[in-house]
């Protein structure tokens, strides 16, 4: 494998903070698109959140959607152009808070799209507020004393939640916090796109990702946080594979 910039990424620096997981996730998505030779067939959706500017980085057609509605927009695109490859790229607030209904119903319809779900347990772009996936005890700017199960309930586990839906084809949770995790994540993302190419239906890959800035940790400590804290609440693994 040659180590070069995938064609699906522009040669441009990103706005992401040092130690942020978005850069790795972008690269994995771009690599999968390159490997499958589908760049000219791809239409991606940008979320509201830190990845909103992904249209500046991805060398393919992109539509920037309103907060949480990417799966609906992706549905519209895919139904009109069934032979194109459509993916959404969404954060935890986008996918599991404001867009929960769209997520669940798009998954349940078995829309033949690929969802890349970046779970960093915090609202990044707005400055570190509680996310639906913020863990119990985790502090945020809106849970200064830590998330309290009595006040905010426990974090939502998206893969577990969606695994009960018969319409879903493939669910896997991965991380980008160790080289081994990155390799596994790349394989999962590629598989999710392959399933779409094969017309197998709805796939979602949940990526546990670092947010050192809003976690108020160094990049190295943020990696430890994913490995030591997040993986125990959100265990990586395949939650469904009906492909």
């Amino acid at each position: 494998m040659k180590f070069a910039r995938p064609e699906t990424l522009y040669d441009t620096p990103t706005h992401y903070c040092s130690g942020c997981g978005h850069g790795v996730a972008h690269r994995l998505v771009a690599q999968a698109i390159d490997d499958l030779g589908i760049r000219e067939r791809v239409i991606g959706t940008a979320p509201v959140g830190c990845a909103v500017l992904m249209y500046d980085y991805f060398n393919c057609d992109i539509i920037e959607c309103s907060h949480g509605r990417s799966p609906a927009a992706a549905t519209g695109i895919k139904r009109c152009l069934p032979d194109r490859i459509v993916f959404t790229y969404q954060g935890d607030g986008d996918l599991a808070a404001i867009g929960t209904a769209e997520t669940i119903h798009t998954a349940n319809r078995g829309e033949n799209i690929t969802v890349i779900f970046i779970n960093n347990a915090i609202y990044g772009m707005t400055g570190g507020q509680m996310a639906p996936t913020t863990m119990l005890g985790q502090t945020s700017t809106t849970t200064p004393d830590g998330r309290d199960v009595k006040l905010q309930g426990p974090p939502i586990k998206v893969c577990e939640l969606l695994s009960s839906l018969d319409g879903v084809t493939y669910l896997e949770r991965v991380a980008v916090s160790t080289p081994r995790d990155v390799i596994r994540a790349g394989q999962a993302i590629k598989k999710a796109f392959q399933y779409q190419i094969d017309g197998k239906g709805f796939s979602l890959v949940e990526v546990l990702s670092m947010c050192p800035t809003d976690w108020k940790l160094t990049p190295a400590k943020a990696v430890d946080f994913v490995n030591n804290e997040m993986k125990s609440v959100f265990p990586p693994g395949v939650y469904k594979d009906a492909g």
Partner: protein
């Protein structure tokens, strides 16, 4: 076959669907709400039959965002709802307007505010014509008064949407949506020369990737430029689209003005007045935005008064007053909440205002 048997006898809601399909609508997403339920029901079988896509969305919000995606592919697309559902769609409509995507949205208005009731009403005029969602944008708003006109304006709506790259709202009401009357199924023919859609997303094969977005973060003045561009487009639409019907305004001392179903009913009242020798005319805006200001100014040559009739507590009256530039008194007759005018009721008010 004679001309009568060629006519269709279908409900307003279904007239809109059939016209949309014949105008090449290829995608519909919607959510059930009375009094427009016949729209998703009809589209659910008719659109697939014509090779299009029908989706019953999980919510009004999802429906409008499905349109956001469908429109981005260049597919002619449509959604419909009734007042509370249209409120839910407003965020998405703002994005569609900001991204300059063509689509057709129908509001078969019912009584409000809140859940209101399911009778026809015209309480959404402000929402329809003044933006509705956030940001500086405009929808082209068409207000058909009869099923025949609904047929034609639905077809035209797709052309306006594509021509101007702007969402078009068909503002109907429960009376129009629920009534059935004979309609001559005039075949679809584009009313403007349609531009090539060189902005659509369909994969970047053989071209540079395209981006459809509404975010203009950097450089700092890009959003101002985008807004300026939108305003220039709206100016152009304002100059080009003058859709209005005038009946007996040449010598009218009193001009009645109304839109949609109310205008249809007002026509009956004006005929009653004319039979009694009263010089009464009607101005019926067919487009509510852009509003046909000029028609009012020119009527002021003879008209001493304007009477605005609406199935609301008075919304269009504000645009009528602006159009008249305070040059004559503007009276109002109407109620909200599902009250229906009749020709007799409007005639009574005409008589009272005329004699004052």
């Amino acid at each position: 076959m004679n001309s009568t048997t060629e006519k269709l006898f279908i409900k307003g809601n279904e007239v809109m669907c059939e016209a949309a399909v014949r105008a090449g609508c290829g995608f519909f997403a919607g959510y059930p709400i009375t009094p427009q339920n016949e729209v998703p029901e009809y589209m659910s079988w008719r659109l697939p039959e014509a090779g299009g896509v029908f989706l019953q969305a999980e919510s009004e919000i999802a429906a409008i965002n499905m349109l956001f995606g469908a429109a981005a592919t260049g597919t002619r697309c449509m959604t419909s709802s009734s007042s509370p559902g249209i409120s839910l769609k407003q965020e998405g409509i703002s994005y569609i307007a900001g991204a300059e995507l063509p689509c057709v949205i129908a509001n078969i208005q019912r009584g409000g505010p809140g859940l209101g009731n399911i009778r026809g009403a015209q309480g959404d005029y402000f929402q329809a014509t003044k933006g509705g969602g956030h940001g500086d944008y405009r929808l082209i708003v068409l207000a058909p008064a009869t099923c025949q006109e609904l047929w034609q304006l639905t077809m035209n709506a797709f052309d306006y949407a594509d021509y101007y790259r702007n969402p078009v709202l068909i503002l109907g009401d429960g009376i129009l949506g629920q009534m059935t009357e004979p309609v001559k199924p005039i075949p679809y023919k584009p009313i403007v020369e349609l531009p090539e859609k060189d902005w659509i997303l369909n994969g970047c094969k053989g071209r540079k990737p395209r981006v459809i977005r509404t975010l203009f973060l950097h450089p700092s003045d890009a959003l101002t430029q985008h807004n300026q561009h939108l305003q220039e487009k709206y100016q152009k639409i304002h100059q080009e689209l003058k859709l209005v019907e005038q009946v007996n305004t040449e010598d009218a001392k009193l001009v009645v003005t109304a839109y949609g179903s109310t205008a249809r009913i007002a026509k009956g009242a004006i005929q009653m007045a004319r039979r009694k020798g009263m010089k009464v005319g009607l101005i019926r805006p067919i487009a509510l935005w852009p509003f046909p200001d000029q028609a009012y100014l020119s009527a002021l040559g003879t008209a001493k008064k304007i009477l605005v009739c609406e199935m609301s507590q008075g919304q269009m009256i504000e645009d009528v007053r602006l159009a008249c530039q305070c040059k004559c008194p503007v009276e109002f007759f109407g109620y909200g909440g599902g009250w229906y005018p009749t020709p007799e009721k409007i005639f009574d008010r005409i008589q009272a205002v005329y004699e004052e």
